[in-house]
Symmetry: C2
Subunit: 358 residues, 2 copies
């Protein structure tokens, strides 16, 4: 199988488009008077962008396990992208984030629709309500799409992978709660800030960004228990590195490339490992940092924050933690018990992620 990653991403995008189009058909047949394209527009916008990283990890896991045609991986990849879209839409409501992937967040798009249409009551309430329901739709759609992927392989493999997909949804919900709750805790009451940030990071995002897509792909391909267990370990490390780099980009990235405002994590009060490290090392500047948490940062604030993170040594310690994980994952890749195509795909992905700026 000589499918390249860019070719696979096109396949995933075709599946995603079909999935949203099928909603339109269903609605046209069954409903009268439903402005379905208006409702789906923010979902289309969100699904048209994105790097398909999670889908690509499904492919890597699948190719490691089997040399069969990769339609089940493209379909499962599409399911996980739908799932992520659902999580992002709800996340942006929760954090009241203005933008996502360089476009207005879904709730903002609905708010703007309300304002432009001069409807009654509150545009912001309408925006939030519509985005909650759109996220629910995408979550259901993700499960439907995964069901289609599972039906493309043997019942045993399909069922195993579907269970893992569902366990992933459960884990992320608990991880989200952990994250929301951590943000509300008084800073000095958090005993071991780094351990606690690592726990949120794992359950809220690291596992579902890398580890579980890899595992699910391998399960769909009928991978051995040995392979699955190796992928859990490798994917765990790589997922942590992935999310920590995301946190670094949250402060040091260019908004035009990340699609998110600089310092957004500080505004949300998000308890990242990087924040814990800066606080630990900030000395007399800690009070200033704490006073910025939960507020919208000015350009001067961002600049001061960057200087502080570098000068106190927190950023480089954080970068070392990322590199250590990437190195260990690269070592594990050498011993991986899977097909060459899969090893090549995974190596390419690891290379992409290590150098990313968005």
């Amino acid at each position: 199988m000589d499918l390249t990653l860019p070719e696979f991403r096109v396949l995933v995008e075709e599946r995603l488009a079909q999935s949203i189009d099928s909603l339109t058909w269903l609605v046209q047949e069954e409903f009268d008077q439903v402005p379905h394209e208006e409702f789906l527009a923010p979902a289309r916008l969100l699904l048209n962008s994105g790097k398909r990283t999670r889908a690509a990890f499904v492919l890597a896991g699948y190719q490691l396990a089997t040399t069969s045609a990769c339609d089940p991986a493209a379909t499962a990849g599409s399911a996980i992208e739908l799932y992520q879209a659902s999580a992002l839409v709800h996340d942006d409501v929760i954090d009241d984030s203005p933008t996502r992937r360089g476009n207005p967040a879904a709730h903002v798009a609905f708010t703007n629709l309300h304002t432009e249409s001069r409807w009654l009551y509150s545009p912001a309430d309408f925006g939030r309500a519509s985005a909650i329901v759109l996220g629910d739709l995408l979550l259901s759609e993700a499960s439907k799409e995964f069901q289609a992927a599972a039906a493309m392989v043997t019942p045993r493999e399909g069922t195993t992978a579907f269970r893992q997909f569902q366990a992933m949804c459960t884990e992320v919900a608990f991880g989200q709660y952990l994250d929301i709750r951590a943000e509300q805790q008084p800073l000095d009451r958090s005993q071991d800030a780094i351990a606690s940030a690592l726990s949120v990071l794992r359950h809220k995002s690291a596992n579902y960004s890398v580890q579980l897509p890899l595992v699910i792909g391998a399960q769909l391909g009928g991978g051995s228990d040995e392979l699955i267990s190796q992928l859990r370990k490798l994917g765990g490390l790589l997922g942590e590195a992935f999310q920590m780099r995301d946190d670094d980009l949250g402060i040091f990235g260019e908004p035009s490339q990340t699609g998110k405002p600089s310092g957004g994590d500080i505004t949300e009060g998000k308890r990242t490992i990087l924040l814990a490290l800066i606080r630990e090392k900030a000395g007399a500047r800690r009070d200033w940092l704490d006073s910025r948490l939960g507020t919208v940062l000015s350009d001067a604030d961002i600049s001061q924050l960057r200087t502080l993170a570098i000068s106190c040594g927190a950023r480089s310690e954080h970068e070392d933690m990322i590199l250590a994980r990437e190195d260990e994952a690269r070592l594990l890749l050498q011993t991986l018990d899977g097909n060459d195509d899969g090893i090549q795909t995974l190596a390419n992905l690891m290379h992409e992620l290590a150098g990313r700026i968005a």
Copy 2:
């Protein structure tokens, strides 16, 4: 099979408890530091109450189609109850409803937790965020539970029923958007208020309250196309009657019995058929009614609203619409092509619903 409805409800409740407990076990094994019972508490409270109406309709459909043991129906019934709990949690966030089934709504419970714990930032924001994530968890859990039900029957029956379950989730999301959007429209721009209210009612609640549980139950039991088609018709009528009675109880019901505040639909600006009828017939009182829409009603307002609805004839016309649907459903029941147990269960349910006050 001589299972009574009360016995079936106990089975469903056992499944529901197992489902939530299984989340606890999963979390205890996989996560450190997760306050899982704190997160699940509002879900447990919500799932401990409720009339299990939807689950009971699954049983009726199943018994109409088969005389096999009813575990698949109890499991699918539990899935639909979980799904409904998810929808209620998100609904209450959207409408900012204070109570549900006589208890604080989930977002209010989380808000109270925040206040009592003296955490940082806004209790209300934390309440909403946590409830959004809890609703997501319940939605995933519903799909997992339905998967378990589908695995108890033949693959063909299981797949058919699962697809219908997923189509139900899709339909309700579109119905919700339709509802939210209708609430924001200037009143006089709504051309045909009754037709539009009927469309919201069908897609947001009537179909998933009655019609689809019946159909899904029959599909799980391997029911004939003829039976399924009869149930779509009967269930459609009964679902509309069910929701219209709910709307009547929203104004005329006793909060101590309905678990919801009187006039809550008016406060939310919900465009019910009953509201459309009152507006149509209110004459000079229409301006007063319009001025109350979207506001919290005083006891005096509720009393005036009730008097208006009765004196203008809207309530009795609405009641006639309910009775006409119930009568037609009863006629269809006579010709239903299914097992006696199922006909008996459905007849009992129809009797329960026709006389309900909560």
